[in-house]
Amino acid sequence: MPVYNMIQALNDALRTAMRKNDRIVILGEDIGKLGGVFRVTKDLMAEFGTDRVIDTPLAEGGIIGAAIGMALYGLRPIAEIQFSDFIYPAFDQIVNELAKYRYRSGGQYECPLIIRTPSGGGIKGGLYHSQSPEAYFIHTPGLKVVMPSNPYDAKGMLLSSLDQNDPVVFFEPKRIYRSAKGEVPETEYRVEIGKAQVVKQGKDVTLISYGAMMTEALEAAEKALEEGIQVELIDLRSLVPLDIETMIHSIQKTGRVVIVNEAPRTCGFAAELMALINEKAFLYLEAPPARVTGFDTPFPYSLEHDYLPSVGRILKEIYKTTHF
């Protein structure tokens, strides 16, 4: 089995799917000859031609608007937004149109469109190449929202996304695009959308994260073990739909939970998870659910590693929670 990084796994997923289904077209800025600024679409234009690998003008609203039309027609478009920080010119098309098309047409139409977009900080990108805007989309009914944290899931979830008859916003944690490596089957396998993964079992405290933050979370879990704290680590992977069972099941066991994500705190996804835990496992809680998140500021440049949840900050919350 080849060992791929995230970029290679995603490239492989695209190629695999496009070979099998000629209704798949991909479109975005610089995805053609250049192969995308991160090379996720490398060599695809050479193989599939300019009708199926489309370099668009600089207009995210045009990319998503046109992709919606393609999906309505019966194609399976995969749109790339170069950085998730630049998704907002398409926000109206995504939240008012894409997310609501099935509903408002009474189910007559459907819009199976995948929006791939790199997100997250830690690459010295400053305010506009580092954002984690997933909460905006999680708050929008009609969208599915996923974020894999490793090459295996990246390929398997991208292929699963193509099975969905609903729009999927597919966030790619760009900080670990190259650093996350792993074995990736050459076959056309699936990783189910809507299922979390228990990465590490433990009985003392549940640690929940997703995306690039899984790296810090895992390290924190390992460090905590050195102090005798057994952390159960969950990679959500799929944010909408959410695997509530796996999460609640773990908390029923541990009674303690720390949530880690890098977006700004207020009204972020960690808040929603805390709310759900309150609703579904209140009586099991032996400490308040805690969150380690980005701060409520724009994303900085020089101090980005102070902004991002660190192993240290996660550990601190793990200790606080276990000693509550």
Binding site: R52, G65, I68, L72, D92, S105
Partner: protein, 365 residues
Amino acid sequence: MSAILKSEIESNGSSVQVLKEDGSLLNKKAEPDFSKEDLKKLYYLMVLTRMTDERFLRMQRQGRIGFYLTSTGEEAAHIGSAFAMEEKDWLFLQYREPGAALLRGFSLFRFACQILGNVGDLTKGRQMPCHYAYKEGHILSISSPIGTQIPQAVGFAWAAKIRNDNLASLVYFGDGATSSGDFHVGMNFAGVFKVPVVFFCKNNQLAISLPFEKQTAVSSVALKAQAYGIDGIRVDGNDLLAVIQVTKQAVQKARSGGGPTLIEALTYRIGAHSTSDDPRIYGDESKLEEWKKKDCILRFQKYLESKGIWSLGFEKEVQERAGVEVSKAIEEAEKLSAPSLDTLFEDVYSDLPQQLREQKNELLS
């Protein structure tokens, strides 16, 4: 297609006409050779559309429906252009084109059900009146946000081109919509990728209260095509025959790989923006009077009269038939009740995810 019109599908500010305002032909050679059946059908549809508007407007005033939008004065623009498309083509509507939907077989009964938002509504009572969707008739889903359908129509037609399916899409929008970012990106994409789409701007010279001359500093929407390397043409929107001809040429050009065309149909909004609007506050009375005189149905009627098709008897018959059709549809629709509670949770996704199942139980329990 007559050469007279053909040469006009170029970027210029002048306006194409076939019928003079008195209904006589501007140029004999430009007359299309439609069958009497077609001419009658078109006339009926225009009358039916206007009557439908009147009836729903009245119902709104009576409190029987919540909201309505008329297309009075603009029937030729949208019915003519829809007529010019083939059945296999797809239409993206803004909201003020009921005649186009009726032409595509959207029954008045379904229309009434949509307006009432009841169980007979194909869209399950989810949208405001006049925001329907009718896939069977190749009518996409209408939404309120202005301009959003424009890049969607581009993507749709583009997909057909990619699949080598020989069909086109036509997208309606208003003069107000030309100011939206979506107009710009849609036009630009269509130009770059030579997409088989027809942009059909119904310039009724008003966007709620804003007159066209404050919407943009250019004198004609058609001129905007030049920014995208696209052909633009302005047509007299109250001239049914000219609208049909110009649209036919545009769609033929699209199908034969000639790329998109921006058609501007110049017309005027005779009624209020919607039943929530009060144009007395901002309206231009003299302009309104001027345009009322240019009524598109009257002009077409005079043409039909000159062809020996229209007569007082014919008019009476048309009016009666239309009247019955509307009444029956409304009567049938009003018998139906509201959608059931569980429809609230359907169609958000292709399936019913757990959290919606729980929320549904919460509401129903």
